[in-house]
Every structure is written in structure tokens, then in C-alpha cells.
């Protein structure tokens, strides 16, 4: 049969209508790419930012630490855990850290905050946001020394400068209050006010002594992956490898950062809902156009069926028309979306003027530049959905065409 040829010629006969229809498919693809892409980009950057503030994409912690953090719950053999993590595929880094509450004081004032004790030999700016954000001085280089890197906000509050003394007071693993004298060797500024006024980096070796920890103890090992999509797999692998070690948990970022996970889940839901509605509107438009095109051809269908075409073949003919409309829409969509996507993923739109200075949301820094990032899977889903919706919109018109009664449609007026 020549259904394909007939379908093509029908589309060509009404070029403008076919173009408008496939353009609306293309426009849907553009919108979906923009919505999904900006979501994927901002979620990824929020998750990454949050991860480099301490816990990592996956964190190994003492059992119970996540629910009730306290310096009494500690991980033993942290170094071994780190090595195991580093041995896994798709792991980009793993760091032994101690995180906990502390009081920071000078002679005159004191403020409460959070410290993160790190090994200066191991930490890399890539996986440590504070290191990246140092604006004055630098990271201590002796893990047993007395260096401290404080946030710019805290520096203002406590009137600190490089070289000034800060007393750090913590409760050790036995619940005893202990204090330690440190000296400011660096100041960081992340742009997030609460972090800048509440976070201090301290040397790991020194803090182990202060907290009465063993030489391989820590509160967590923060693990970083190359690609967020690998979090689940890395977590499962790591948990399996560490199975024999009781008293620890391997947690994905969703569990160590539940607020962020919730925020993203809600945002993503709305994003998808919006896309679904846009898709529905576009599909309704296509359905309407197809139906119009079918209804004005009842006589043609009547003749085809009178001379022996089966209703099923007529349904097929109209479905082939929507198939080619879908293909056309996909092509146009790719042509239209590619330059936009390339621009938006490389350059983006700077929104900093509209947001103000503190770009945090849910306690996490947000990139003020709107950019797009699209996972291959998302792109595939978008293209397939656009195509699927076009085909779906053609189903009812096709069935209507197949129901044509030749006797009725052939009546001479």
C-alpha cells in the first residue's frame, strides 16, 4: 500500500498547518528542555554545593549520628573506610572529617557554631567549598597544629584578623567540656551569611586529641562521586564492602541533607507538573488540528473505503500522518533547541541583579546564573514524550477517520 506516500502528501498539501503543528511540538521540546535543564542544573549545583560543605554525596557515619549528631558517636577505622571508598569505581574523592558543634570565643565575645576538622594534607578545594572560598590567609598545613580558618561573618562578629586567638570549646567523646586555643590562619567567604558567620575549619589531628578520639577516629568519611546519578550505586557498593563493620551507616546526600532533598523533590514535582500541563495543551492543539484535517476529508475516506480500503487501513493512514508530524516536530525541535541549549549551558543568563547578594535557598548556595544542564536520559525522555504525545494526539482523529460511513460521506448534496 501507498499509505506512507499518501500521508506525506496530505501533510504537504496543507504545508502551513503541518508546519504549525510540528512547530508546536518543537516548541514543547524547547520548553521541556529549558524546564528540565534548569532544574537539573540548579539541583545538581545545589547538591554539589551542599556536599562540598561537609557531608559529601555519600557519607559514612557512626550508626545513629545522622539522627542524633553528637561528638560521642564516632567512626573508628575511618582511614580504612576512606581507602575502601577510594577503591570504588566512579568515586572522585573521600575525606575523613569530624563535624560538630562548638563555641568560639575571644577575650571579649563568644558565638556558637559548627566546626569541621580536616586533614590539610588530604583536603582538596574541589571537594571543600571553604577551601575554595578563602579570601585571606590560607589553610593550616599542620594537622596537629593550632590553625583555624573562620568565616568572614564570624571574623566580623568576634573582631578577628589573621593571627588572632580563638578559644574553641567542645564536649569531648566522654561528655566533658574542653577548650583549646587556636589561631586564625585563614578567612573564607562563601556568600551564604549563615555559613560565613557559623563555620570554622580546624586541624583533624589536633581535634582528635581535644575530643579524646583515637588516632583513626572521626565522625564521618565524606565520599564524592563523578556524577550524581552514581550516588545510589556507589552507596550500595560501599555499604556492601563495609558490611562486616558494624556500627556504621552509609548514607546518600538525601539522608544527610533531608531539607535540601525535600526542597528539590517539591520543586521537581512542580516542574514536571508544569511540563505535563504544557504537554497536554500542546497535545490538545495537535488533536484539534488533526481532527479538523480528518473531518474535512470524510468524503475522501468514504471513497477509499467504498473501493475496498478497510477501516483499519484508514486508521493506519491517519496514524502515519501523526507519525510523520511527530518526526517533523522532533527534527524542528532539535534544530530549534540545540543553539539555545548550547548558549544556555555555556553562558546562561545572569540573574544576580534580580536576586540580591545572599543566594541561598534551603541553607544552600544557589548559582545566580541560570544555566541548563541536561542528562542524556532526560533528553531522551523529552524527545520520546514529545513524539509519544504527538502520536497519542493522533489516535482519536484516526479512530474517527476509521469510523467514516461511506454511505453517509458519499451523499451528494
Amino acid at each position: 500500500m501507498q499509505l506512507n506516500k499518501m500521508a506525506w502528501r496530505t501533510l504537504a498539501r496543507n504545508k502551513r498547518r503541518s508546519l504549525i503543528t510540528s512547530f508546536s511540538v518543537a516548541f514543547g521540546i524547547l520548553l521541556a528542555v529549558t524546564f528540565t535543564g534548569s532544574g537539573d542544573y540548579s539541583y545538581t549545583s545545589m547538591i554539589d554545593t551542599s556536599a562540598v560543605m561537609g557531608f559529601g554525596h555519600v557519607s559514612v557515619e557512626a550508626a545513629g549520628y545522622n539522627d542524633r549528631p553528637g561528638l560521642a558517636r564516632r567512626l573508628t577505622e575511618a582511614g580504612g573506610v576512606r581507602k575502601t571508598a577510594l577503591g570504588l569505581p566512579r568515586v572522585a574523592g573521600a575525606y575523613v572529617r569530624i563535624m560538630g558543634q562548638a563555641m568560639f570565643a575571644t577575650g571579649a565575645k563568644s558565638v556558637g557554631g559548627v566546626f569541621m576538622a580536616v586533614d590539610p594534607q588530604l583536603e582538596k578545594p574541589l571537594h571543600n567549598f571553604f577551601l575554595r572560598s578563602i579570601v585571606e590567609g590560607r589553610l593550616f598545613d599542620d594537622t596537629n597544629g593550632r590553625g583555624a580558618v573562620v568565616g568572614a561573618g564570624m571574623a566580623v562578629k568576634l573582631n578577628l584578623r589573621l593571627g588572632k586567638k580563638v578559644i574553641v570549646t567542645v564536649t569531648d567523646k566522654n561528655g566533658q567540656l574542653t577548650s583549646e586555643l587556636t589561631r586564625v590562619c585563614g578567612i573564607f567567604k562563601t556568600g551564604d551569611d549563615s555559613v560565613d558567620s557559623g563555620m570554622v575549619l580546624l586541624p583533624l589531628g589536633r581535634m582528635r586529641q581535644v575530643l579524646n578520639y583515637g588516632p583513626d577516629d572521626a565522625t564521618l568519611v565524606a565520599v564524592y562521586v563523578n556524577d550524581l546519578r552514581q550516588v545510589k550505586r556507589v552507596r550500595t557498593l560501599l555499604a556492601a564492602k563495609l558490611d562486616h563493620k558494624a556500627n556504621l551507616e552509609v548514607l546518600p546526600w538525601q539522608e544527610t541533607q533531608p531539607d535540601l532533598a525535600g526542597l528539590i523533590a517539591v520543586d521537581r514535582l512542580f516542574n514536571y507538573l508544569l511540563q505535563f500541563l504544557v504537554g497536554l495543551v500542546i497535545a490538545a492543539g495537535i488533536l484539534n488540528t488533526m481532527l479538523m484535517s480528518v473531518l474535512e476529508r470524510t468524503r475522501e475516506f468514504g471513497i477509499m473505503m467504498a473501493v475496498g480500503m478497510t477501516p483499519r487501513q484508514v486508521v493506519g493512514l491517519v496514524l502515519i500522518e501523526s507519525f510523520w508530524l511527530g518526526v517533523l516536530g522532533l527534527l524542528l525541535g532539535v534544530i530549534l533547541t540545540t543553539p539555545w541549549f548550547i548558549y544556555m549551558s555555556r553562558v546562561g543568563i545572569d540573574l544576580s541583579r534580580h536576586i540580591g547578594q545572599d543566594y541561598s535557598a534551603g541553607g544552600v548556595l544557589v548559582d545566580p546564573v541560570m544555566k541548563l544542564r541536561l542528562y542524556r536520559e532526560s533528553a531522551l525522555v523529552i524527545l520520546l514524550s514529545a513524539f509519544g504525545l504527538t502520536m497519542a494526539a493522533g489516535v482519536y482523529p484516526a479512530i474517527r477517520a476509521g469510523r467514516t460511513m461511506p454511505v453517509e460521506s458519499l451523499k451528494e448534496t
Binding site: M1, Q2, M6, R13, I303, V307, G308, T310, E412
Partner: protein, 232 residues
Amino acid sequence: MQDAPIVQLEKVSKIYQQGQVEVKAVDNFDLTVRAGEFSVLCGPSGSGKTTILNLIGALDAPSSGRVWLEGQNLAELNRGRLSRLRRDRIGFVFQSYNLIPVLTAFENAEFVLSLQNVPAAERRKRVMAVLREVGMADYVDRRPDELSGGQQQRIAIARAVVSEPAIVLADEPTANVDSEAADTILDLMTMLNREKGVTFLFSTHDQRVMDRARRLIRLRDGRLEADENQDR
């Protein structure tokens, strides 16, 4: 010797409900059409010509009575079988706008053969032969809207006869063309009947067309008024 009957109508009635009123479009009608006939259903507008052709062509079902085509009772066939029967055994020519607008004259003439999955080479041979007979061989690439009404009817006739059906049903095939084109169409059908033995049953209310029929089946209000063989 009499040829086998191709079409048999037995006490056929078709009743339409129009609001409260019942319209008897065809009323207790009997008819036998044999192979090789060149017969005309005639009668004023509304006398039931189209309805009878639709019943014979398996496009419509009677309210009562039976329709047989080559010995097959149409009431016993499902939709799919009826489609196939129309495709393989019946040729249709309608009053106007017979052709599929997106197909060329050649492709329109070829349409039924493609539905039958006849191989392309054979299709081409058979279609070109018929197009020569109807005098349209030079118009193969024209679209229907580039042809006159008479030319369109000739393509429709080509489409109807190329599959060598048992009978060609033509509903007022000359009603929408000028008299010169009507003559051409009639000459064509006569020639195909005489030389190829194609069985024709067509309807008309045009006296000049009636004059050329060999058998005149006169209808009035859905009933048979007269059934005359004319010597010609």
C-alpha cells in the same frame, strides 16, 4: 444460453426513519443482473436509485429482503469480508469527486490494485492499458484538481474496471459533466461492455443516457415501475 446472475435482489426494502415519518426509499424490490449486461436504473430524483446501488455495492444493508452478489448473501459477511468484496468484485463510479486528491491520475487508477497488493510492474502494465482505453494515458501525472470533471470521471472508470470486477456500479456518472463529456463517458462504458464484457449497472435521470441503455429499469417511489429491454 443465459449468463449466470451476478446480482440478485429479493424483496428488498430500505426504510429510513425521518423523525416521525418512515421513508420507504426502496420498497419490496426484486432485480437480477446478469454478466455482460449494460443496464440503467432510471427514475426521478428520490426514486431510490442511489439506495439500490449502495445496497448492491455492500455499502448499505437492506431493512428487509436479501441481496446476493455472485451467489453470496451479503448479510452473511462481516465488515472485513465486505471491504474485500468491494475491493475485489465491485467497481464504483460516483457522481463527482471520485478521486483521492493527493494521488495523481495514475495513482488513483492504480488505487484498487495497490489495495490488492498486485506487484508494481503488473499494476503499471494494467493501469496504463486501461488509461489508454479511456484516453487518459497522457494525463498520468496530473492531480485530480488539474483535470476536468469529465476527465476525472474517466479516471474513475479506469479505477473501477482495472481490477476486473464482476460488476461496475455507477451512480449518475454523467450528471455533473457537460453533454460532450457525458457522451465520451457513455461511449467509453459501452465500448468496455462490448469489447471487454464488463457488466455495468448505472443510474441516471437523463433521457439521453436512458436511450443508450440496453435494459431500462424504471423506478418510482422505490418500486419497480417497468423493466424493459431496448433493442439497440
